[in-house]
Structure formats: C-alpha cells, structure tokens
Symmetry: C2
Subunit: 257 residues, 2 copies
Amino acid sequence: MVKLGGSVITDKARYRSFNQESTDRLTREIASSGKQVVLVHGAGSFGHLLAHEHQLQRGYLKDSQRIGVAKVQQDVRDLNREVMLSLDRAGIPATSIPPGACALMEGGLLRKMDLGLFRRYLDLGIMPVTFGDVVLDAQKKFGICSGDQLMYLLAKEFHPKLIVFCADVDGIFTADPNLDRGASLIEKVDRSTLESIPRTSRVTDVTGSIYGKLESMLSLAELGKTTMVINGLAPGRLASALGCAKVKGSMVVGGQA
Amino acid sequence: MVKLGGSVITDKARYRSFNQESTDRLTREIASSGKQVVLVHGAGSFGHLLAHEHQLQRGYLKDSQRIGVAKVQQDVRDLNREVMLSLDRAGIPATSIPPGACALMEGGLLRKMDLGLFRRYLDLGIMPVTFGDVVLDAQKKFGICSGDQLMYLLAKEFHPKLIVFCADVDGIFTADPNLDRGASLIEKVDRSTLESIPRTSRVTDVTGSIYGKLESMLSLAELGKTTMVINGLAPGRLASALGCAKVKGSMVVGGQA
C-alpha cells in the first residue's frame, strides 16, 4: 500500500509534493516493482484551503457550504485525474474510487466503504486508487475524509505486506529539515517519538502538523504492518522499498521501542 | 430526472450531442427551473468506441482488456468533468457518482448501487450526477453499464415527477430526420410504435439504435412516470419541460396507446 502525500498549505498557491515529473517517476517505480499496490493520495493544498474556507471539516452549518462541497470534490478529482493519467503513462491499469461517491462517515470518522469493490479490482489486476475527499457524514451531513483515514481502513481490510508513505523529505525529523540545519532523521519512530515532539505545526514533515500524521502512522504500525516514511523525491527509493531492499527513511514501529 | 444524451459513433472522432455552449445552456435551464434534479449522461462516443475495441461489453476475456477498462473509465470521467464544470458555472452544487466506483452488475444487468448516497446528496441540496461507465460484474468481472440502466434504477428508487431525455433532435421520428426529409415526429410513443419500426440502426434518433433506447424509455414510462424526449439543442425546451409547460417532443406512454 502506497500513499503519495503530503502537501503543505502555502499562500493560496497550489503546492504539491510531487509535480508531474516526479509523479511519473513514482508510478514507473510502482510499475517496475510488479507488486500489487493500493494507492492513496491526499487532497492537495488547494482542496485543503477551499475546505477550510467553507469550514467543511465542521460538517453542515449553512446552505452556502454546498457549493464548497462541490468545488472541493471537483478540485481533488482534478488532482486525482493527474495521478490516473500518470498511472496510464506507466502502463498500470488503474481505477479511481472517490470516497465522496461511495463512503460514509459518522461524526468525522470513516465508517463505511465498499471494500469488496477494491477487492474485485485487485483480483482483476486493476489498481484501486483513492484519495482524501469530502464525504457524506451520517451525523454532520458531510466532512473531510483524510487519506490517512483511508489508509487505516484499507490496511485493516487488506493486510498489506508493506505500507509506504512517500513524503518530500527523507522521513520523520527531529525538526523541520527545510528550516533547521540541525534537524536529524529519526530512523525508528515509535510512541515515545510522538511524546517527545512539541505539539506545534512548526515541527513538520512539510505535510502540516506532524503530530496527527504520526498518530495515524503509529496506528497503522500497530496493526502489525511494516510502515515506513521515505522520500518520494529521491529516485529509486520507492522501487527499493517495494522490492524489500533497505532504504533511507523512517520505520514506524508499533508500541514503545 | 434528466438525461443528457445521446452520442453517435462517428469516424473515431469525438462526437457529442452537446458542446460546451449547449451544455452550459442546459445546466442554466436546470438551475433556473429550481427543480431538484438527478442528472445522468452517456459515456460519449469515444468511450463507446474504445469499449468496443476492447470488447468490454463481453466481460473479461483476457488480461489485455484491463488497460481498456482503465482507459474507458478515464475517458467517461473526462466527459463527466466537463458536465460538472458546466454545473459549477451554472451555480448548481453537484456531486459526481461514477458507477465504476460504487455499482455492481450481474451478467450485464445493473444489480447494486448505493442509492442511499444519492438520497443523502439530494436531501443536502447537492445534485447527484452519474453516467454510463465500465462497471464491475459479479459474473463477467466487468461490463458496460449504460446511462439508460442507471435511469431505470434511479427512477424506481426516487419516483421522479418527470423523466426527460435530451436528444439532439426534436424527439422520436418515423425515420432519421437528418437523412430523410419525410421523417415525422411521433408525439405519442408506445409499445405499438416500437413494433412498427424496423430493427435497424438506420432508423435512429442519432443515438445509435433507437430500438433498444425505446425499449428502455417504455420501461421507464411503464413505471408510471411521465417520460419525454425533447430537443436539448432547442433553447428553452428543457426549462419549459421542467416547468411542466407543454413542449415540442415525444411523450413516451406505457402500455398500448
């Protein structure tokens, strides 16, 4: 299972961890691995911003949010389209499964998704691709379903041998490596790492608050799956990780180290 | 319930009944009607051609079809994207529900689709939009789900007051009005009309074989719903139909006239 992420919120500009060139390289690395992969990607920064503007994460507040729901869904589908076209260029038969069209949340938590569909596509040799989206919510009418929530649900169902998060830095750092020259890579991440980092959005892996992200990664690792964060911008790392070779990055380990 | 259709198969060119200008006019007509609408559209001619090339309608035959499944799905989503952008320009909050991501067929017949999702979006005031697509099949692994099959399932569930098919001619004719100057509009269409037309693709409403299309329309009418075929290229006709005004076109009537 591979997640392509994360994006940062910048000055209303569309910022993405991976441009077309690096996305194409990553999809080629997946293709050459020959591995069966479920692919998840984030909503992209523009989707995040627009969602924030319309307060979609709070659920239904007023009718004027409806056009926000539609616009954010369209925006994340546009990003998804770029990933799908890249998979096609890499020769990978893939199908897009937008959570907004098939999932249901409850109070902000992903509760229901037709995973049988994912299974059927996998059995056919067609790669299911899903992504962070605006999703219906049985309590709040709608909400934001993150790529990380999808990763968790999919991992519980499909028991992947390996879970790889492709970031745009080498892994989890003691500080933001883009701002702090003293930042060092944490090769083994566990719950004690989580407790040691200050709860601030300054300390980040360039995907927003690292705290919440690490929480989800630890939950995944605690399912007993090998979970790692690698640099998707470094050519060959994803291919090596999928080939089970040792690769620079952070291993996420369930429980205390 | 409105269907925007149909497309003809031409010389590998992408032919569509409605270009951006007419699609924008149609979505504005829907917006100005103030009616709650479920929108269905076809797969477009390019999708049809590609599907035919890979024999997707026959279900799984060989692995090489997988890339065909992916390509046709991408193609119909590209067409759907244009419709969604048009709805956005018309100020209609809408959501795209691709059958390939949420439906299941059985031996070529649409069997399962999460209609609760459509209901929730409708209740929120967000228009559900779906379309002809490559869909998983419990027997044949995959197949083609037509917009007409979707219309039937949705009509059975949602009991719409009105079902409108937007064609690119005035309705159902005694012959192809683009080829035969003697062709006349059939204002009331019933099972006897079906029996009277020769089973040939020459006699068409410019949407391929009219025979199969008429069959589906009659099934819809036999659910007891007012079903009509109008010319989507004629400005104001969809708006009039949605406003329950008398409009030029063909009424489809269940049972013998």
